[in-house]
């Protein structure tokens, strides 16, 4: 034990200094506000304007209203298509329109969106052909739209994995001198996955311009938020990564757009990622195949009707005098036409080409795949012959 004495000797002189004076609160600027940001009351009457989250221009809000109305009509139509067997399954986001549309309106077309299976409305709001949006659920291929051209990743099913992709994409873009922002949608349940942790942390460490947008709709299929976290709210996860965070009333379209706009500016200005938690609610079952009566009662759902984001924004815009019956009717007609066109196009059975299964496994099929393709080609030919004979 020779080290101790000398260590003590060494220690003595230098360490008589006082403990450094208490530093300022290190979590300052990283914690969310205790209450979700709100700019409109549920009935659409405005709350006092606030410094931190200036209200978006009214034209933007009007456009937001339009896309929310069309989005909801699309969503209702998609659910109807499942009943007619045109879609294998459909996860509705009715009730989450403010988040779905706000998440997209806050971005430029050159920014990247990382949607989940829940984000069909966000995709239509982004201007993606609704039939291409539904390709995955219709079952003729996986991703129906051109992800590269639309700067929109394929809808992600393996939960939270997109959080890491968004960090990488955003960092890669800035690394190459582009001011792209990536916005990753994620659900409340998915925040429990390790990839949420790793993704947000990578974004924070590399100061990647990402907005992590948590739509806390209170359920992961049947599992309530209380089984996902014991935290005061999901927005409190940000500080653990050094990521500024805030929470917003997800059914207040004005607040959602205001908060996301600031979050996107924060990211684009090189300050790194921002975490937003929106408190919202899905009015429909998890998917058309889900039986929600097993885990929540009608009253709970009913109560949320009072917080309908579309009614809320409509009331406000009418109040502001930028929306009247005529305008509402025009938008409603547009939504109807949109849905009708979708219905018609979805009635046509899509053409699928079995041999295309081999086209994109690799840039060039391996010899083994070429062999298998020949086998399938032969099977198809034989089948056609039989049909011919028949």
């Amino acid at each position: 034990m020779t080290t101790t004495p000398q260590a003590v000797r060494r220690a003595s002189p230098r360490t008589r200094r006082k403990a450094t004076p208490a530093a300022p609160d290190p979590s300052a600027g990283l914690l969310p506000q205790a209450e979700p940001v709100r700019l409109l009351n549920p009935d659409g009457t405005p709350l006092p304007a606030r410094e931190d989250y200036p209200e978006p221009p009214v034209e933007a809000l009007r456009e937001m209203y339009r896309r929310m109305v069309v989005g909801r009509r699309f969503d209702v139509q998609a659910t109807a298509l499942t009943k007619q067997g045109r879609l294998a399954v459909y996860p509705s986001s009715r009730g989450q329109e403010a988040c779905q549309v706000g998440g997209v309106l806050a971005l430029r077309d050159t920014d990247w969106v990382f949607p989940t299976y829940r984000e069909s409305m966000a995709l239509t709001a982004r201007g993606i052909d609704p039939v291409e949006v539904l390709t995955l659920l219709r079952g003729d291929w996986h991703c129906g739209y051109d992800a590269a051209a639309r700067h929109t990743a394929p809808q992600c099913t393996p939960l939270a994995t997109q959080c890491v992709h968004a960090a990488g994409l955003a960092y890669g873009e800035s690394y190459q001198g582009r001011d792209t922002v990536a916005l990753a949608f994620i659900g409340d349940g998915a925040t429990s996955e390790g990839d949420f942790h790793e993704g947000v942390n990578f974004a924070a460490v590399f100061k990647a311009p990402v907005v992590y947008f948590v739509q806390n709709n209170k359920y992961a299929i049947s599992v309530p938020l209380s089984r996902q976290t014991a935290a005061p709210s999901l927005a409190y996860k940000g500080v653990g990564y050094g990521v500024p965070s805030d929470q917003v009333d997800g059914n207040d379209p004005v607040a959602v757009l205001a908060v996301l706009t600031r979050a996107v500016e924060h990211a684009r200005s090189g300050k790194g990622p921002f975490l937003v938690e929106a408190h919202t609610y899905r009015m429909e079952p998890h998917t058309n195949a889900d039986d929600q009566t097993r885990y929540r009662d009608a009253e709970e759902v009913e109560a949320w009707r009072d917080r309908d984001p579309i009614a809320r924004l409509e009331a406000y815009l009418r109040d502001r005098g930028v929306l009247d019956d005529a305008a509402v009717a025009v938008i409603a007609d547009e939504a109807e036409a949109y849905a009708a066109a979708l219905r018609d196009r979805m009635n046509a059975q899509p053409a699928v080409e079995p041999l295309s299964l081999f086209d994109h496994v690799y840039a060039e099929p391996t010899p083994q795949l070429v062999e298998q393709r020949e086998q399938v080609r032969a099977e198809l030919a034989a089948a056609r012959e039989e049909e011919g004979d028949a």
Binding site: H142, P158, S192, Y295, Q368, Q372
Partner: protein, 334 residues
């Protein structure tokens, strides 16, 4: 005797196991009030309380690692992975801990847990919901891997899996969940490590497991028209594997086709083919052939039938078993 679905038999196995052994706890995503997306845990929470059957945070590594800890405390966790591809986040916990803990500690600690994995396709599921992942587990020493193809096996193998002192990856063929059959519960069928001849035949042996078994049986029926009398062996227990039954069958018939739904390359079917040709070389009139899924990511619903081993594909393959004892032209060419 009552007619019931495989889903119901699995549910009954869980209920009976929980009844017989207080240490059995069932958890995962949506297994509580919802009863699981396939309703395999239906009613368990209501019957046994939310401490015996409960929902967890949405995190598969967490679910499996939590089960490891519970097992260390003396419990017998049965966890549900909601779908095959959603067990991948738990791969490290499964490969580095579940499979190895007993060995690492010379038996001081063991991991008697069951990881239930609804797997394979044929249900029109979208991407990530139809993977056949059994080979990943079968290739990992320390895990047992079983998969039922019948209603009674579903019950019996699951009961045995829960009683087993070692970790069992219990692969449930989704497309068979709602297939039904006469079943007498509590049924106890052949134990782990036993393959079963589902159909006796003399001309060739079809070796299959899980979702491929019904295909094999259908093909064997259809083959009669072609004048082939095919034997069908249901592997049931991938690890441990029953060489004796498979070998005996192929020695009798002299020909063998191995059928699996998973992509073929380095799959369980490759192992079976390699074992059979080694053990039955002098009895074989033709090479052991394989019918497997294509070596592609699982296709979208409208294309899955092209991917899945079909009765026609099995028959085409049987036809290549060199009945004329002439070499396969495809390879002579090469």
């Amino acid at each position: 005797m009552a007619t019931m679905t495989m889903a119901k038999a699995l549910n009954a196995a869980l209920a009976d196991a929980m009844l017989d052994d207080e240490r059995v706890v069932v958890f995962g995503e949506d297994v509580g009030q919802l009863g699981g997306v396939f309703r395999i845990t239906d009613g368990l929470q209501a019957r046994f309380g939310d401490k015996r059957c409960f929902d967890t945070p949405l995190a598969e590594a967490g679910i499996v690692g939590f089960a490891v800890g519970l097992a260390m405390s003396g419990l017998r966790p049965v966890v549900e992975m909601q779908f095959d591809a959603f067990a991948y986040p738990a791969f490290e916990q499964i490969a580095s801990h579940v499979a190895k803990l007993r060995n690492r500690t010379r038996g001081a600690l063991s991991v008697p847990i069951v990881i239930r994995v609804p797997y394979a396709g044929g249900i029109g599921g979208v991407e990530h919901h139809c993977d056949s992942s059994e080979a990943y587990y079968a290739h990992t020493p320390g895990l047992k891997v079983v998969t039922p193809a019948t209603v009674e096996d579903a019950y019996s193998l699951l009961r045995e899996a829960i009683e087993d002192p070692d970790p069992v990856v219990f692969m449930e063929p989704k497309k068979l969940y709602f297939s039904s059959a006469e079943a007498e519960l509590p049924a106890r069928t052949a134990p782990f490590g036993t393959a079963v001849v589902r159909r006796a035949g003399t001309d060739a042996t079809l070796v299959a497991y899980g979702p491929a078994v019904p295909v094999a049986l259908e093909a064997a029926e259809a083959a009669r028209e072609e004048g082939w009398d095919l034997e069908v062996v249901d592997v049931r227990s991938i690890v441990p594997f029953d060489d004796a039954t498979v070998t005996a069958s192929v020695r009798r018939t002299g020909r063998c086709v191995v059928i699996q739904e998973a992509q073929g390359f380095a799959g369980v079917g490759a192992e079976i083919a390699a074992r059979v040709q080694e053990r039955c070389f002098h009895a074989l009139h033709a090479p052991v052939l394989r019918v497997a899924g294509l070596d592609i990511p699982y296709p979208a619903p409208m294309l899955e039938h092209t991917h899945l081993p079909s009765v026609d594909r099995v028959l085409d393959t049987v036809a290549r078993l060199q009945w004329d004892d002439q070499p396969d032209s495809r390879w002579v060419a090469a």
